[in-house]
């Protein structure tokens, strides 16, 4: 039984890495993740340089009080990767899964697979495992690149706590991408037109990743804070019940919230231990898992009822 699943999974991996379009998107994802570390590190370095310039400027103007240096937590240098996984990572998963069933169906290979002693649920499991392996390999490559670049460019060495946080983030990223892969696979089972399925998933991705967060943003309250020293006004957003309600429907927002906490982007949660952090975000984790499990069950059910096979 496992042999059949593993054979399908291996085939899925091979097919993915033979597809030029998928390789382009994957290359883009890896490239962006890598340059985000470089840009993040150099921007932080520029910030520190700017801080020195600000101190010099204020001293020259005879200022009595000087601002304290910006707090830079080691992992925050990698913070931009949260946006890239949420944005491009999800698209990579869509590109990976949109032809998983409809492609096989159109090429006639689905009938061929079904004619072998393989159960339909095994086909779904095999495809899922194959997709998971591809996503795992991609994230593994990005993790290694990030760790190496992080050490070389920022000159900082991550401690055990930072490595655990980083591994936690990549585990979360793989779950998030798998949710999109599973949803795309479900759409692929249900539709014969690959292009239609692909565009449908792109619309869902847009709604989850951009439309809902922006609607939530528009429903936030903005208080105005006056900085006495600079006489500048800063907008301070605060959640409302409506904005929180809208965000509940967006796994992308939940992923970004957990990701930012794990990668020390939010100073308030940067010193909390990973256990306490995950406990604090348990609701957000469940909100990512529930849609994933729902589409997984639907995929098994749809594959059982598939008539084209």
């Amino acid at each position: 039984m496992m042999n059949g699943i593993m054979t399908l999974a291996r085939k899925e991996v091979k097919t993915a890495f033979r597809d030029n379009i998928f390789l382009i998107v994957t290359g883009l994802f890896i490239l962006l993740s890598v340059i985000s570390v470089y840009i993040g590190s150099s921007t932080k370095n520029e910030e520190l340089q700017a801080y020195q310039d600000i101190v010099q400027l204020l001293k020259g103007q005879g200022a009595a009080t000087l601002p304290s240096p910006p707090a830079i937590y080691p992992l925050s240098v990698l913070g931009n990767i949260v946006s890239y996984v949420s944005m491009i990572g999800a698209v990579v998963a869509i590109f990976l899964g949109f032809e998983s069933f409809s492609g096989e169906r159109n090429n006639g290979t689905l009938k061929l697979i079904a004619a072998r002693p393989v159960y339909r649920d095994q086909i779904v499991t095999g495809k899922l495992l194959g997709g998971g392996m591809v996503i795992g390999v991609l994230l593994g490559i990005i993790l290694i690149f990030n760790l190496v670049l992080f050490t070389f460019v920022s000159g900082m060495t991550p401690g055990a706590d930072e490595i655990i946080r980083l591994l936690g983030f990549f585990l979360l990223a793989s779950v998030y991408m798998m949710v999109f892969y599973t949803a795309t696979m479900y759409v692929s089972i249900k539709t014969n037109d690959s292009a239609f399925g692909f565009m449908l998933m792109m619309i869902i991705w847009l709604a989850i990743s951009f439309v809902l967060p922006q609607l939530a943003e528009s429903q936030r309250n903005f208080a105005y804070a006056l900085n006495a020293a600079s006489q500048t006004v800063t907008q301070v957003p605060s959640d409302t019940s409506v904005s929180k309600m809208i965000e509940l429907f967006s796994p992308a927002v939940q992923f970004q919230n957990i990701g930012k906490d794990l990668l020390q982007v939010i100073p308030e949660t940067s010193d909390i231990g990973i256990g306490a952090l995950l406990l604090k975000q348990i609701g957000a984790i469940v909100e990512i898992l529930i849609p994933g499990l729902a589409v997984l069950l639907l995929s098994y059910k749809a594959a059982q009822k598939e008539e084209v096979i």
Binding site: I39, T43, I54, S83, Y84, M202, S218, A229
Partner: protein, 321 residues
């Protein structure tokens, strides 16, 4: 003949389920964002009117002037929706118009009649642009009606002109993606592949490049803003940024490669979302932001010319895919 092809294009578009689904989503979101924006304008106006009534009840003779509520900024959300969903809609429209003819074998049929290749492309473009113009007009009407009926805002002539110019920019932005999509579908031999390639280009132009620009923005790296946290005034901020001119130029250069950024910049200036353009006339804003207008127009023209050349020179046009 061009008109005939354009008419057919419009009829086909409204039979395309995917196009209709995205269009419905765009219209719903336009409605939601404008209604929410109009409600905010109405709430601000009610607040002002209540304050005036309260002051009058206290017998105050000197009443504060009405603050600038900037009702046209209610369209801010619409900029983002056009930036994403409008572009996707334009891509589907452009890709389908070419790829369906390849797929169904009707391209050979059309070209075997007395239709020149340039006529064929012009008809397709005219049809698609008419659809985009119709969508722009429809969303414009929804916006104007909502602002007046729900927001209770009385728009000045200048505000109306700014809104009209803004909708013009939205049309140009969607045109770019239709032209790009048609161009890639014309060059490619397989419609579905062309769609995937166009989506990748869209991702790079609309999400990746602006995201890199954001990442390189020093002020974005700390919640609340780096310079604000440091207690710097605008002048001091500019003084410090002068020392990072190369870095800032590089960041700006990355953003300038994105038509989405050009659209966002000129739209925010026209809608007074970005401060500094309140006292300018609508045409002065367009003049000040000419580089963004050029950033929307020039790529469309260039891609369209390349599409012409590629299609006119193509020799395998009668091969089936």
């Amino acid at each position: 003949m061009i008109i005939e092809i354009a008419k057919k294009e419009m009829r086909d578009a409204f039979r395309n389920k995917l196009f209709l689904s995205i269009l419905a989503m765009l219209l719903v979101l336009t409605g939601v964002s404008i209604v929410l924006g109009s409600c905010q304008v109405k709430a601000a106006m009610d607040n002002y009117n209540n304050s005036i009534s309260f002051l009058q009840s206290l017998g105050k003779a000197q009443l504060p002037p009405m603050p600038n509520l900037n009702p046209i900024s209610a369209s801010k959300g619409f900029v983002n929706y056009i930036g994403m969903i409008g572009a996707l809609l334009a891509i589907v429209l452009g890709n389908t118009s070419i790829s369906k003819e390849h797929k169904n074998g009707t391209l050979r049929l059309i070209l075997s009649r007395g239709v020149f290749r340039d006529t064929f492309l012009n008809g397709k473009l005219l049809g698609n642009l008419s659809i985009l113009a119709g969508i722009t007009v429809l969303t414009g009407i929804i916006t104007f009606v909502s602002l007046i009926a729900i927001g209770g805002a009385a728009l000045t002539a200048s505000e109306v002109a700014r809104m009209l110019l803004f909708f013009g920019m939205s049309f140009l932005y969607m045109t770019f993606f239709t032209v790009l999509s048609m161009g890639i579908a014309t060059v490619s031999t397989k419609g579905s592949r062309a769609l995937l390639i166009t989506v990748i280009v869209w991702l790079v132009l609309s999400f990746v490049l602006p995201q890199i620009g954001d990442t390189m923005d020093m002020d974005n790296q700390i919640p609340g803003g780096f310079f604000s946290t440091m207690g710097m005034s605008r002048d001091q901020e500019h003084q410090v940024l002068q020392k990072f001119k190369f870095y800032e130029t590089l960041r700006d250069g990355v953003e300038e490669m994105s038509p989405t950024k050009h659209y966002e910049r000129i739209s925010y200036a026209l809608l007074n979302v970005k401060p500094g353009f309140e006292t300018n006339t609508p045409w002065e804003v367009v003049g000040l932001k000419w580089i963004n207008l050029l950033g929307l127009l020039a790529p469309s023209v260039a891609i369209w010319l390349l599409t012409y050349i590629a299609f006119l020179r193509r020799e395998n046009i009668y091969q089936s895919n």
